[in-house]
């Protein structure tokens, strides 16, 4: 039994070993308790490991013209997406070869995506080519963490109406932070109709939750698709645009700076909206968008600038239409009131020149010859009426008339980024000249459409439509119906009335017919079509004057009201009026018979003259 006596004094070591074993066992249990019960983060990790949230992007709504012709549609493309947290040990070289990028690019993009989120998808490569897509579809299982997201891109039937359609771009950080609908990489309408009708066009994104295994293979829907939502396709838009007229307008404006706005007076529907120079809307789609946008931004001709809605010009002589109407309504003149014109108008140190024309003139012939003297006299008489206590009240009433034509304010319809123009208030003059320190002659230039006045081509066209309607207008807009062509937009059906009697409008319409038939615009008379119009020449301190013309036709049953501005082209009768007459002829008769007249416009170029 000396076996035991030999080892007995090491017996206590049994306890030490037992304590070590139990101690390590407890250590493991504590750690497991922390991992499995105390710390919830691993449950989140596990979900993101095998759940893949797949967004179904619905196709964006289509855009049609007023006759149902398709103008804007979609084309499928594919974005390569990455979830950085799931990128395993992949063959980077093979991957880069498929995409035709180098490893450094790969690393930096992955880093960028990781900075955004480890568990949310980021775009790794936008709009991959069809061949790359085919190659990826085959080998995707080799690249865990990557997947292909089908998307759609805009396509255009004609390279026209760019400013009206606007464009679609990726939602920026501002939008993403303020609107939970948008995620990085999502598209959003940036301007034009795409922006104004973004909610209708985009539809509703769908979400599918799929389960994937470690090789990124789809295993099936999560909980039988209980949390999936279906995407809803965007609604189609039926615009008011007339494609033929739009195409023709852009053609006429080639090599010119300026704009054309044509409105159907009886509805306020915009038939065409031309801003020149323009560009192909397809340039702002797809991978080249950023580069093209930068090039357009740097273009000295400013093609991105939507002149029809954002260029503010002093209206010049076309403003006399409003000036005369106010004078008639106020009873300052009757149609037959006549004044003599000596080619220049003097009043207390101010003189305004006039072109040579027969004298004396009345309300009709004054407008017909665009007499500055007559305009100045009636403007002063309007403001100097004895019923007003002071100039401020007189001016404010005059200004209210002007604003009732839609000048100096936003239309607030579906036009993106319109500017309100300028119609200065009495307060403005009080600030400059001191309260009441100004007289009618101080602001005399307003009477001939110069001075503190700014109008957009859109406002000019609307003003013309109001005259064509003899005293009211419908808010101009570009979309007739959303979703279904029968489902018309009723919000623009209410007329905006101008507080001037119809008889005075008839007088002015008659004068406008005389302008075309036997006045400043007689050069642009259209055979068989009774057009009413008014020329304008906007003084431009920076260079050649701007050529302006407003018109509507037929005079008795107006179907189109139009404004044309050609920058740096001189007198309104020379270029703006011919273009307007060609547009009207095209719209009303379907074809233009005055070929030499048309060719003269097409050949003209005013891009070399600096503004």
């Amino acid at each position: 039994m000396n076996i035991h006596t030999n080892t007995d004094h090491y017996l206590h070591r049994k306890k030490i070993i037992a304590w070590i074993v139990m101690g390590v066992g407890m250590l493991l249990l504590v750690r497991l308790f922390i991992l499995q019960i105390a710390d919830p983060s691993y449950k989140v990790f596990a979900r993101s490991n095998f759940l893949r949230h797949i967004t179904d992007y619905p196709s964006r709504g289509l855009i049609y013209d007023r006759h149902g012709e398709l103008l804007v549609y979609n084309e499928a493309h594919y974005d390569l997406m990455v979830i950085p947290g799931q990128v395993g040990d992949i063959d980077t070289l093979a991957f880069c070869k498929l995409l035709n990028i180098d490893v450094a690019t790969f690393e930096s993009r992955l880093l960028q995506a990781r900075r955004h989120s480890r568990f949310r998808a980021s775009v790794f490569e936008r709009q991959i080519s069809k061949t790359a897509f085919a190659a990826f579809q085959e080998k995707l299982f080799r690249f865990p963490g990557f997947f292909v997201q089908p998307r759609t891109l805009r396509k255009y039937s004609y390279p026209v109406a760019t400013h009206t359609f606007g464009y679609v771009g990726e939602a920026g950080p501002n939008i993403i932070n303020n609107d939970p609908y948008y995620r990085p990489g999502d598209y959003i309408g940036i301007s034009g109709i795409e922006r104004a009708y973004e909610k209708e066009l985009r539809g509703q994104k769908g979400l599918r939750i799929r389960m994937v295994d470690v090789l990124n293979r789809d295993i099936g829907p999560f909980q039988d698709g209980r949390y999936d939502t279906l995407g809803v396709a965007g609604k189609n838009l039926y615009t008011t645009l007339d494609t033929r007229l739009q195409l023709y307008g852009e053609k006429l404006m080639q090599n010119k700076r300026g704009s054309i706005v044509a409105i159907e007076p009886s509805t306020g529907e915009i038939l065409s909206l031309v801003s020149s120079p323009s560009f192909d809307p397809g340039l702002l789609v797809g991978r080249q968008r950023t580069r093209n946008y930068r090039a357009l931004q740097n273009d000295t001709l400013k093609p991105l600038f939507n002149r029809a809605l954002m260029a503010q010009y002093p209206p010049g002589s076309v403003f006399k239409l409003i000036s005369f109407l106010i004078a008639l309504e106020e009873g300052v003149i009757s149609p037959t009131t006549s004044h003599g014109c000596a080619g220049i108008y003097h009043t207390r140190g101010i003189s305004i020149r006039c072109r040579p024309h027969p004298s004396p003139v009345n309300a009709i012939t004054g407008l017909q010859h665009s007499c500055n003297t007559y305009s100045s006299i009636i403007f002063q008489n309007t403001l100097n009426q004895p019923l007003f206590n002071n100039i401020q009240d007189a001016f404010t009433q005059w200004r209210d008339y002007v604003r009732s034509f839609g000048l100096g304010q936003y239309f607030g319809s579906d036009l993106s980024y319109e500017l309100p123009g300028i119609v200065a208030s009495a307060d403005y003059y009080d600030r400059i000249y001191g309260p009441g320190g100004w007289r009618s002659q101080t602001i005399l230039s307003l009477g001939i459409g110069q001075g503190e006045l700014g109008v957009t081509p859109m406002q000019l066209a609307n003003m013309t439509a109001a005259i064509a309607n003899r005293g009211h207008y419908f808010t101009p807009h570009t979309v007739k119906a959303v979703g279904d062509p029968q489902n018309s937009n009723t919000q623009y059906a209410l007329a905006n009335n101008i507080p001037i009697s119809r008889e005075h409008f008839e007088t002015i319409v008659y004068a406008m017919q005389r302008v075309v038939n036997d006045g400043t615009a007689s050069f642009s008379r259209i055979p068989d079509i009774d057009m009413a119009g008014k020329t304008g020449t906007v003084q431009n301190p920076h260079g050649e004057n701007h050529s302006v013309f407003v018109a509507f036709a037929p005079a008795e049953n107006p179907q189109i009201a139009i404004s044309v501005i050609v920058e740096n082209a001189g007198h309104g009768s020379v270029w703006a009026a011919p273009i307007a007459s060609l547009m009207i002829e095209k719209y009303l008769s379907g074809e233009v018979k005055r070929h030499w007249f048309e060719q003269r416009v097409l050949d003209a170029s005013f891009l070399t003259a600096m503004p």
Partner: protein, 420 residues
């Protein structure tokens, strides 16, 4: 009573029960880990759960054989058995197949066999024989050297297979040495200190560690100022530790292979590289951590069923348990292991012979080391060195090795009263 009926009556029932329970749980989890991928029949022998059934059956035959062989076979032939395994370990270096950059396997058709898993058994027998023979006197230096070489030779051979994990298992025999009094408690303490310093030296700057150690040394010196004769020892110890701490970095940078370095770095620096070396650990923690209290249920583990964890039937089998059975499952497995180890310690202590006790403590040491490191590495407490969880993980060699060790000890235990 015949001897045969005796043996089945005398073997320890708790150990037998624990053994069978753990093998059954192991098979269920191997099945779960591979189920989704294949969904083949239970008896399809191309799957690992199918193969494991064969291994389990052969392990049972092996266990029965061990119980029936005369107990003197083990005591008398232990040196020869050891020699055979040394030969196998040498042979595998020349005739083995290479799997995952280690040359540790013999291949027979669809089944592979890893001699290093069973070499531990041979080492235990040889060590038991040596220590048993020295029972009447205190071990001399030559005896200590022999014992040390008995463990070192197979360890070096396994290292030559580039299987660092299994090599480290041989270090577990330190517990046997300790229990038998061949190693002082101080040595065990220093062994533990060496491991702790190794890890600390990798985590912290060497200067910080040496500074702290210097402070501790000075404190001890002040307390012990009445006994100035220990000062030279204290200073010597301090210098030794300082050199060791500095050499850790050198060993780490120049001796270890890149994938070992990466695995240790993952451990000490908290898994910064989730795509590379840290991937296994990260996925393993996700699987276990997502199990919660009750687990996701048998065959319901998303991480397990969608194969996010590599080597899940072998080294990472605990992930399946952790995910599908939750903390309750973890508690069960750890409870089973602790119960087995405690029971084995009790049995070892009741041996009448040093031989039997050494075999018992060898079983305790080897199983404990595998258990602690394997579970530890799945939850980030130990470096990922790739050793299986005994009786649970897939793999015939490991199951055979553990079965041989356990049942040889059970046989010795059953016959303990006949052995002197």
């Amino acid at each position: 009573m015949t001897q045969r009926s005796n043996i089945f009556n005398n073997i320890d029932k708790p150990v037998l029960f624990l053994y069978l329970t753990m093998v059954a749980i192991g098979w269920l989890n191997i099945f779960a880990a591979e189920y989704a991928e294949t969904q083949k029949h239970v008896f399809d022998f191309s799957t690992s759960y199918g193969k494991q059934l064969i291994w389990i059956c052969t392990a049972f035959i092996l266990a029965a054989s061990v119980l029936m062989i005369d107990v003197r076979f083990f005591t008398n032939f232990s040196q020869i058995i050891y020699g055979v395994f040394i030969l196998l370990l040498t042979g595998v270096l020349f005739f083995g197949v290479e799997v995952n950059s280690t040359r540790a396997w013999f291949q027979f058709g669809g089944l592979a066999f890893q001699p290093s898993e069973i070499a531990k058994y041979g080492t235990a027998l040889a060590l038991a024989s040596l220590m048993g023979s020295a029972r009447l006197r205190k071990p001399g230096h030559l005896m200590r050297l022999k014992a040390f070489l008995l463990v070192l030779v197979p360890a070096v051979l396994v290292l030559l297979q580039k299987d660092v994990g299994t090599t480290l298992v041989f270090a577990s025999f330190i517990l046997v040495f300790f229990r038998e009094g061949w190693l002082s408690g101080l040595a065990l303490f220093f062994a533990g200190l060496a491991v702790a310093l190794f890890v600390l030296a990798l985590v912290f700057n060497e200067l910080i560690i040496i500074g702290i150690l210097a402070l501790i040394g000075i404190t001890i010196a002040i307390i012990m100022r009445k006994k100035p004769k220990i000062f030279p020892q204290l200073i010597g110890l301090f210098l030794l530790v300082a050199i060791y701490v500095y050499s850790v970095d050198f060993v780490f940078e120049n001796v270890l292979q890149p994938h070992h370095k990466a695995r240790i770095e993952v451990l000490v620096h908290g898994g910064a590289d989730l795509q590379g070396a840290g991937y296994n650990l990260h996925q393993s923690k996700i699987a276990i951590g997502s199990g919660g209290l009750w687990g996701k249920g048998f065959l319901q583990g998303t991480q397990t069923q969608f194969n996010f964890i590599p080597e899940q039937t072998t080294d990472f089998i605990f992930c399946t348990i952790g995910e599908e059975w939750g903390f309750v499952g973890s508690l069960l497995i750890i409870g089973l292991f602790l119960a087995l180890l405690m029971r084995l310690i009790t049995l070892a202590e009741r041996q009448k012979s040093v031989f039997g006790r050494v075999v018992g403590y060898s079983a305790v040491s080897v199983i404990f080391f595998h258990f602690a490191i394997n579970i530890g590495m799945t939850i980030g407490l130990a470096p990922v060195i790739g050793i299986p969880l005994p009786l649970i993980s897939y793999g015939g060699s490991s199951l055979w090795g553990t079965t041989l060790l356990l049942f040889t000890f059970l046989k010795l235990d059953a016959k303990r009263l006949e052995m002197l």
